[in-house]
Amino acid sequence: MFDYLRYKWRLGMLAHILHRLSGIVLMMYLVVHLWVTHYLSTGEANGETFEYLMKFFSIPLFRLAEVGLLGVVLYHALNGLRIILIDTGWGVKYQKTIFWTLCAIGGLAFLYGAYRFLFPLLG
Protein backbone atom coordinates (compact mmCIF):
# COMPACT_ATOMS: atom_id res chain seq x y z
CA MET A 1 0.00 0.00 0.00
CA PHE A 2 2.82 2.34 0.99
CA ASP A 3 4.47 1.92 -2.41
CA TYR A 4 1.42 3.51 -4.05
CA LEU A 5 2.06 6.74 -2.19
CA ARG A 6 5.80 6.80 -2.77
CA TYR A 7 5.79 6.00 -6.48
CA LYS A 8 5.34 8.77 -9.02
CA TRP A 9 1.74 8.97 -10.22
CA ARG A 10 1.33 9.10 -13.95
CA LEU A 11 -1.97 9.17 -15.80
CA GLY A 12 -2.30 5.39 -16.06
CA MET A 13 -1.92 5.00 -12.30
CA LEU A 14 -4.45 7.76 -11.60
CA ALA A 15 -6.96 6.20 -14.02
CA HIS A 16 -6.45 2.80 -12.37
CA ILE A 17 -6.89 4.06 -8.79
CA LEU A 18 -9.99 6.10 -9.70
CA HIS A 19 -11.40 3.03 -11.44
CA ARG A 20 -10.94 0.95 -8.29
CA LEU A 21 -12.39 3.64 -6.02
CA SER A 22 -15.39 4.26 -8.28
CA GLY A 23 -15.92 0.50 -8.36
CA ILE A 24 -16.10 0.38 -4.55
CA VAL A 25 -18.57 3.31 -4.48
CA LEU A 26 -20.76 1.58 -7.08
CA MET A 27 -20.67 -1.65 -5.05
CA MET A 28 -21.90 0.23 -1.97
CA TYR A 29 -24.56 2.03 -3.98
CA LEU A 30 -25.73 -1.29 -5.40
CA VAL A 31 -26.31 -2.69 -1.90
CA VAL A 32 -28.43 0.34 -0.91
CA HIS A 33 -30.24 0.23 -4.24
CA LEU A 34 -31.13 -3.45 -3.85
CA TRP A 35 -32.26 -2.85 -0.27
CA VAL A 36 -34.62 -0.08 -1.38
CA THR A 37 -36.03 -1.85 -4.42
CA HIS A 38 -36.67 -5.08 -2.55
CA TYR A 39 -39.57 -3.27 -0.82
CA LEU A 40 -41.26 -3.07 -4.21
CA SER A 41 -41.80 -6.83 -4.31
CA THR A 42 -42.82 -7.43 -0.70
CA GLY A 43 -46.56 -6.95 -1.25
CA GLU A 44 -49.26 -4.28 -0.76
CA ALA A 45 -48.59 -3.59 2.89
CA ASN A 46 -44.98 -2.75 2.28
CA GLY A 47 -45.60 -0.74 -0.85
CA GLU A 48 -46.00 2.14 1.55
CA THR A 49 -42.48 1.59 2.83
CA PHE A 50 -41.20 2.01 -0.71
CA GLU A 51 -43.21 5.19 -1.18
CA TYR A 52 -41.90 6.45 2.13
CA LEU A 53 -38.31 5.72 1.13
CA MET A 54 -38.78 7.40 -2.25
CA LYS A 55 -40.00 10.53 -0.50
CA PHE A 56 -37.09 10.35 1.89
CA PHE A 57 -34.63 10.12 -1.00
CA SER A 58 -36.16 13.09 -2.85
CA ILE A 59 -34.76 15.67 -0.42
CA PRO A 60 -32.10 18.01 -1.94
CA LEU A 61 -29.21 16.26 -0.17
CA PHE A 62 -29.93 13.03 -2.04
CA ARG A 63 -30.43 14.94 -5.28
CA LEU A 64 -26.88 16.20 -4.88
CA ALA A 65 -25.68 12.69 -4.03
CA GLU A 66 -27.37 11.49 -7.21
CA VAL A 67 -25.30 13.95 -9.22
CA GLY A 68 -22.19 12.55 -7.54
CA LEU A 69 -23.35 9.03 -8.39
CA LEU A 70 -23.78 10.07 -12.01
CA GLY A 71 -20.16 11.22 -12.07
CA VAL A 72 -18.96 7.93 -10.56
CA VAL A 73 -21.02 5.85 -13.01
CA LEU A 74 -19.79 7.89 -15.98
CA TYR A 75 -16.15 7.58 -14.94
CA HIS A 76 -16.36 3.85 -14.29
CA ALA A 77 -18.25 3.15 -17.52
CA LEU A 78 -16.08 5.27 -19.81
CA ASN A 79 -12.75 4.22 -18.29
CA GLY A 80 -14.07 0.66 -18.51
CA LEU A 81 -14.37 1.18 -22.26
CA ARG A 82 -10.79 2.46 -22.33
CA ILE A 83 -9.61 -0.66 -20.49
CA ILE A 84 -11.50 -2.93 -22.91
CA LEU A 85 -9.83 -1.13 -25.83
CA ILE A 86 -6.38 -1.52 -24.26
CA ASP A 87 -6.96 -5.16 -23.33
CA THR A 88 -7.83 -5.96 -26.91
CA GLY A 89 -4.71 -4.19 -28.13
CA TRP A 90 -6.41 -1.14 -29.66
CA GLY A 91 -4.90 2.28 -29.15
CA VAL A 92 -2.48 1.18 -26.41
CA LYS A 93 -0.06 3.87 -27.60
CA TYR A 94 -2.81 6.47 -27.37
CA GLN A 95 -4.08 5.55 -23.92
CA LYS A 96 -3.62 9.12 -22.66
CA THR A 97 -5.43 10.69 -25.60
CA ILE A 98 -8.23 8.15 -25.20
CA PHE A 99 -8.44 8.98 -21.49
CA TRP A 100 -8.75 12.73 -22.05
CA THR A 101 -11.20 12.29 -24.95
CA LEU A 102 -13.44 10.12 -22.80
CA CYS A 103 -13.07 12.66 -19.97
CA ALA A 104 -14.38 15.37 -22.31
CA ILE A 105 -17.33 13.22 -23.37
CA GLY A 106 -18.02 12.22 -19.76
CA GLY A 107 -17.72 15.84 -18.64
CA LEU A 108 -20.36 16.99 -21.11
CA ALA A 109 -22.68 14.12 -20.17
CA PHE A 110 -22.13 14.96 -16.50
CA LEU A 111 -23.00 18.63 -16.95
CA TYR A 112 -26.17 17.75 -18.86
CA GLY A 113 -27.15 15.13 -16.28
CA ALA A 114 -26.43 17.44 -13.35
CA TYR A 115 -28.59 20.12 -14.97
CA ARG A 116 -31.47 17.65 -15.39
CA PHE A 117 -31.15 16.36 -11.81
CA LEU A 118 -30.84 19.75 -10.16
CA PHE A 119 -33.19 21.78 -12.41
CA PRO A 120 -36.35 20.77 -10.46
CA LEU A 121 -34.68 22.06 -7.28
CA LEU A 122 -34.06 25.49 -8.79
CA GLY A 123 -37.60 25.84 -10.10
Binding site: D3, Y7, R10, M13, G89, K93
Partner: protein
Protein backbone atom coordinates in the same frame (compact mmCIF):
# COMPACT_ATOMS: atom_id res chain seq x y z
CA UNK B 1 29.06 22.85 -12.69
CA UNK B 2 26.17 23.12 -10.29
CA UNK B 3 25.74 22.09 -6.72
CA UNK B 4 23.06 19.45 -6.18
CA UNK B 5 21.75 17.58 -3.15
CA UNK B 6 21.26 13.83 -3.27
CA UNK B 7 18.94 12.23 -0.73
CA UNK B 8 19.87 8.58 -0.71
CA UNK B 9 18.18 5.57 0.87
CA UNK B 10 20.55 3.87 3.33
CA UNK B 11 20.15 0.56 5.09
CA UNK B 12 22.66 -1.88 6.46
CA UNK B 13 20.81 -4.88 7.94
CA UNK B 14 23.81 -5.65 10.18
CA UNK B 15 23.78 -2.22 11.81
CA UNK B 16 20.52 -0.38 11.20
CA UNK B 17 17.16 -1.23 12.67
CA UNK B 18 15.34 0.50 9.87
CA UNK B 19 16.19 2.35 6.66
CA UNK B 20 16.95 6.07 6.67
CA UNK B 21 17.89 8.80 4.20
CA UNK B 22 21.31 10.40 4.02
CA UNK B 23 22.00 13.62 2.17
CA UNK B 24 25.09 14.45 0.15
CA UNK B 25 25.69 17.84 -1.43
CA UNK B 26 28.42 18.42 -3.98
CA UNK B 27 29.34 20.00 -7.29
CA UNK B 28 28.01 18.00 -10.21
CA UNK B 29 29.99 18.33 -13.41
CA UNK B 30 28.10 18.96 -16.60
CA UNK B 31 27.18 15.73 -18.37
CA UNK B 32 27.13 13.64 -15.20
CA UNK B 33 24.51 10.92 -14.92
CA UNK B 34 22.99 9.76 -11.64
CA UNK B 35 25.44 6.85 -11.77
CA UNK B 36 28.41 9.21 -12.13
CA UNK B 37 27.15 11.04 -9.05
CA UNK B 38 26.78 7.81 -7.06
CA UNK B 39 30.29 6.79 -8.10
CA UNK B 40 31.54 10.21 -6.99
CA UNK B 41 29.96 9.65 -3.57
CA UNK B 42 31.37 6.12 -3.26
CA UNK B 43 34.87 7.03 -4.43
CA UNK B 44 35.31 10.42 -2.79
CA UNK B 45 32.80 11.00 -0.01
CA UNK B 46 31.40 7.84 1.54
CA UNK B 47 32.74 4.44 0.56
CA UNK B 48 30.08 2.63 2.59
CA UNK B 49 27.38 3.41 0.00
CA UNK B 50 26.25 0.29 -1.86
CA UNK B 51 24.65 0.03 -5.28
CA UNK B 52 24.85 -2.25 -8.30
CA UNK B 53 26.43 -1.08 -11.53
CA UNK B 54 28.51 -2.51 -14.29
CA UNK B 55 28.50 -1.24 -17.87
CA UNK B 56 27.52 2.43 -17.27
CA UNK B 57 26.04 2.54 -20.79
CA UNK B 58 22.50 1.20 -20.53
CA UNK B 59 23.23 -2.36 -21.61
CA UNK B 60 23.70 -4.46 -18.49
CA UNK B 61 20.60 -3.35 -16.58
CA UNK B 62 22.34 -3.46 -13.18
CA UNK B 63 21.81 0.11 -12.02
CA UNK B 64 18.00 0.22 -12.03
CA UNK B 65 16.74 2.28 -9.10
CA UNK B 66 14.04 4.76 -8.18
CA UNK B 67 15.04 8.33 -8.99
CA UNK B 68 12.63 10.97 -7.69
CA UNK B 69 9.88 8.39 -7.31
CA UNK B 70 10.18 6.71 -10.67
CA UNK B 71 12.21 3.68 -11.76
CA UNK B 72 15.06 4.39 -14.14
CA UNK B 73 18.60 3.35 -15.03
CA UNK B 74 21.02 5.51 -13.05
CA UNK B 75 23.48 5.49 -15.94
CA UNK B 76 20.92 6.75 -18.46
CA UNK B 77 19.49 9.50 -16.27
CA UNK B 78 21.21 12.84 -16.65
CA UNK B 79 21.40 14.85 -13.42
CA UNK B 80 20.47 18.07 -15.25
CA UNK B 81 17.20 16.45 -16.39
CA UNK B 82 16.15 15.61 -12.84
CA UNK B 83 14.08 18.44 -11.43
CA UNK B 84 13.60 19.42 -7.81
CA UNK B 85 15.92 20.85 -5.18
CA UNK B 86 16.86 17.37 -3.96
CA UNK B 87 17.37 14.23 -6.00
CA UNK B 88 15.85 11.36 -4.09
CA UNK B 89 17.37 7.97 -4.84
CA UNK B 90 15.76 4.80 -3.54
CA UNK B 91 16.02 1.09 -4.32
CA UNK B 92 13.52 -0.53 -6.71
CA UNK B 93 10.13 -0.89 -4.99
CA UNK B 94 8.43 -4.25 -4.50
CA UNK B 95 11.70 -6.12 -3.96
CA UNK B 96 13.35 -6.76 -0.58
CA UNK B 97 16.18 -4.35 0.19
CA UNK B 98 19.45 -6.13 0.95
CA UNK B 99 21.55 -3.04 1.53
CA UNK B 100 21.29 0.67 0.59
CA UNK B 101 20.20 0.58 -3.07
CA UNK B 102 20.69 -3.14 -3.60
CA UNK B 103 17.56 -5.29 -3.81
CA UNK B 104 16.95 -9.03 -3.92
CA UNK B 105 16.20 -9.70 -7.61
CA UNK B 106 15.21 -13.33 -7.02
CA UNK B 107 11.40 -12.88 -7.36
CA UNK B 108 12.01 -11.03 -10.65
CA UNK B 109 14.12 -13.84 -12.07
CA UNK B 110 11.71 -16.48 -10.74
CA UNK B 111 9.01 -14.84 -12.87
CA UNK B 112 11.31 -14.86 -15.87
CA UNK B 113 12.18 -18.55 -15.45
CA UNK B 114 8.48 -19.45 -15.43
CA UNK B 115 7.92 -18.27 -19.02
CA UNK B 116 10.65 -20.48 -20.58
CA UNK B 117 12.97 -17.65 -21.71
CA UNK B 118 14.74 -19.79 -24.31
CA UNK B 119 14.14 -21.15 -27.78
CA UNK B 120 12.22 -24.39 -28.14
CA UNK B 121 12.40 -26.31 -31.41
CA UNK B 122 10.90 -29.71 -32.01
CA UNK B 123 11.94 -30.41 -35.61
CA UNK B 124 15.44 -31.61 -36.29
CA UNK B 125 17.73 -28.65 -36.95
CA UNK B 126 18.29 -27.52 -40.56
CA UNK B 127 21.69 -27.84 -42.23
CA UNK B 128 22.55 -24.22 -41.58
CA UNK B 129 20.69 -21.75 -39.37
CA UNK B 130 16.94 -21.45 -38.65
CA UNK B 131 15.77 -18.98 -41.27
CA UNK B 132 13.39 -16.10 -40.66
CA UNK B 133 11.95 -13.55 -43.07
CA UNK B 134 12.79 -9.86 -42.49
CA UNK B 135 9.06 -9.23 -41.85
CA UNK B 136 8.91 -11.87 -39.12
CA UNK B 137 12.13 -10.57 -37.61
CA UNK B 138 10.68 -7.06 -37.53
CA UNK B 139 7.95 -8.23 -35.13
CA UNK B 140 10.65 -8.84 -32.54
CA UNK B 141 12.32 -5.42 -32.79
CA UNK B 142 10.80 -4.15 -29.58
CA UNK B 143 10.90 -7.12 -27.18
CA UNK B 144 14.53 -8.01 -27.93
CA UNK B 145 15.60 -4.58 -26.66
CA UNK B 146 14.84 -5.72 -23.10
CA UNK B 147 17.91 -5.73 -20.84
CA UNK B 148 16.15 -7.30 -17.81
CA UNK B 149 16.81 -4.33 -15.55
CA UNK B 150 13.47 -4.84 -13.71
CA UNK B 151 12.46 -1.15 -13.97
CA UNK B 152 9.08 -2.28 -15.35
CA UNK B 153 8.30 -5.19 -13.05
CA UNK B 154 9.33 -3.22 -9.95
CA UNK B 155 7.08 -0.32 -11.03
CA UNK B 156 3.99 -2.52 -11.30
CA UNK B 157 1.45 -2.27 -8.45
CA UNK B 158 0.23 -5.79 -9.29
CA UNK B 159 3.77 -7.04 -8.61
CA UNK B 160 4.10 -5.01 -5.38
CA UNK B 161 1.10 -6.84 -3.98
CA UNK B 162 1.93 -10.25 -5.36
CA UNK B 163 5.52 -11.13 -6.19
CA UNK B 164 4.36 -14.47 -7.62
CA UNK B 165 3.03 -12.44 -10.58
CA UNK B 166 5.54 -13.01 -13.37
CA UNK B 167 5.60 -9.28 -14.15
CA UNK B 168 5.81 -7.24 -17.38
CA UNK B 169 9.46 -8.12 -18.15
CA UNK B 170 8.70 -11.85 -18.15
CA UNK B 171 5.57 -11.28 -20.26
CA UNK B 172 7.56 -9.26 -22.80
CA UNK B 173 10.03 -12.17 -22.91
CA UNK B 174 7.15 -14.58 -23.45
CA UNK B 175 5.87 -12.35 -26.27
CA UNK B 176 9.34 -12.40 -27.81
CA UNK B 177 9.14 -16.21 -28.24
CA UNK B 178 5.39 -16.59 -28.88
CA UNK B 179 5.65 -14.26 -31.87
CA UNK B 180 8.95 -15.66 -33.14
CA UNK B 181 8.29 -17.60 -36.35
CA UNK B 182 11.09 -20.08 -35.52
CA UNK B 183 9.89 -21.07 -32.06
CA UNK B 184 7.82 -24.26 -31.78
CA UNK B 185 6.33 -24.12 -28.28
CA UNK B 186 3.64 -21.48 -28.81
CA UNK B 187 0.84 -23.48 -27.15
CA UNK B 188 2.93 -24.34 -24.09
CA UNK B 189 3.99 -20.73 -23.73
CA UNK B 190 0.44 -19.40 -23.98
CA UNK B 191 -0.64 -22.03 -21.48
CA UNK B 192 1.94 -20.75 -18.97
CA UNK B 193 0.99 -17.07 -19.24
CA UNK B 194 -2.76 -17.83 -19.31
CA UNK B 195 -2.84 -17.79 -15.53
CA UNK B 196 -3.94 -15.52 -12.69
CA UNK B 197 -0.25 -15.04 -11.83
CA UNK B 198 0.41 -14.40 -15.51
CA UNK B 199 -1.33 -12.23 -18.11
CA UNK B 200 -4.47 -11.60 -16.11
CA UNK B 201 -2.67 -9.86 -13.24
CA UNK B 202 -1.99 -6.95 -15.62
CA UNK B 203 -4.46 -4.14 -14.91
CA UNK B 204 -3.13 -1.84 -17.65
CA UNK B 205 -1.71 0.72 -15.24
CA UNK B 206 1.10 1.69 -17.67
CA UNK B 207 3.77 2.21 -14.99
CA UNK B 208 5.91 -0.34 -16.84
CA UNK B 209 5.65 1.60 -20.11
CA UNK B 210 6.59 4.86 -18.38
CA UNK B 211 9.53 3.25 -16.56
CA UNK B 212 11.10 1.21 -19.37
CA UNK B 213 14.50 2.75 -20.24
CA UNK B 214 14.39 1.00 -23.63
CA UNK B 215 10.96 2.38 -24.57
CA UNK B 216 9.33 -1.03 -24.85
CA UNK B 217 5.54 -0.89 -24.83
CA UNK B 218 5.02 -3.74 -22.34
CA UNK B 219 1.25 -3.17 -22.18
CA UNK B 220 0.96 -3.60 -25.95
CA UNK B 221 2.90 -6.88 -25.75
CA UNK B 222 0.69 -8.09 -22.89
CA UNK B 223 -2.46 -7.13 -24.85
CA UNK B 224 -1.21 -9.13 -27.88
CA UNK B 225 -0.58 -12.13 -25.62
CA UNK B 226 -4.06 -11.76 -24.10
CA UNK B 227 -5.56 -11.82 -27.59
CA UNK B 228 -3.42 -14.78 -28.69
CA UNK B 229 -4.45 -16.68 -25.55
CA UNK B 230 -8.14 -16.02 -26.02
CA UNK B 231 -8.12 -16.95 -29.71
CA UNK B 232 -6.04 -20.09 -29.17
CA UNK B 233 -8.45 -21.42 -26.52
CA UNK B 234 -11.77 -20.48 -28.14
Amino acid sequence: MAERTFKIHRFNPEKDEKPYFQEYRFEVESGWSILDSLNHIKWNIDSSLNFRRSCRSGICGSCAMRVNGENALACETQVKNVKGSKIKIEPLPGLAVMRDLVVDMEPFFEGLKKVMPYFVTKDSPPDKEWLQSPEDRKKLDEPIKCILCACCTASCPSFWFDDKYVGPAALVKSYRFVFDSRDQAREERLDIVNDREGLWRCHTIFNCVEACPKDINCTQAIAELKKATVFSTV
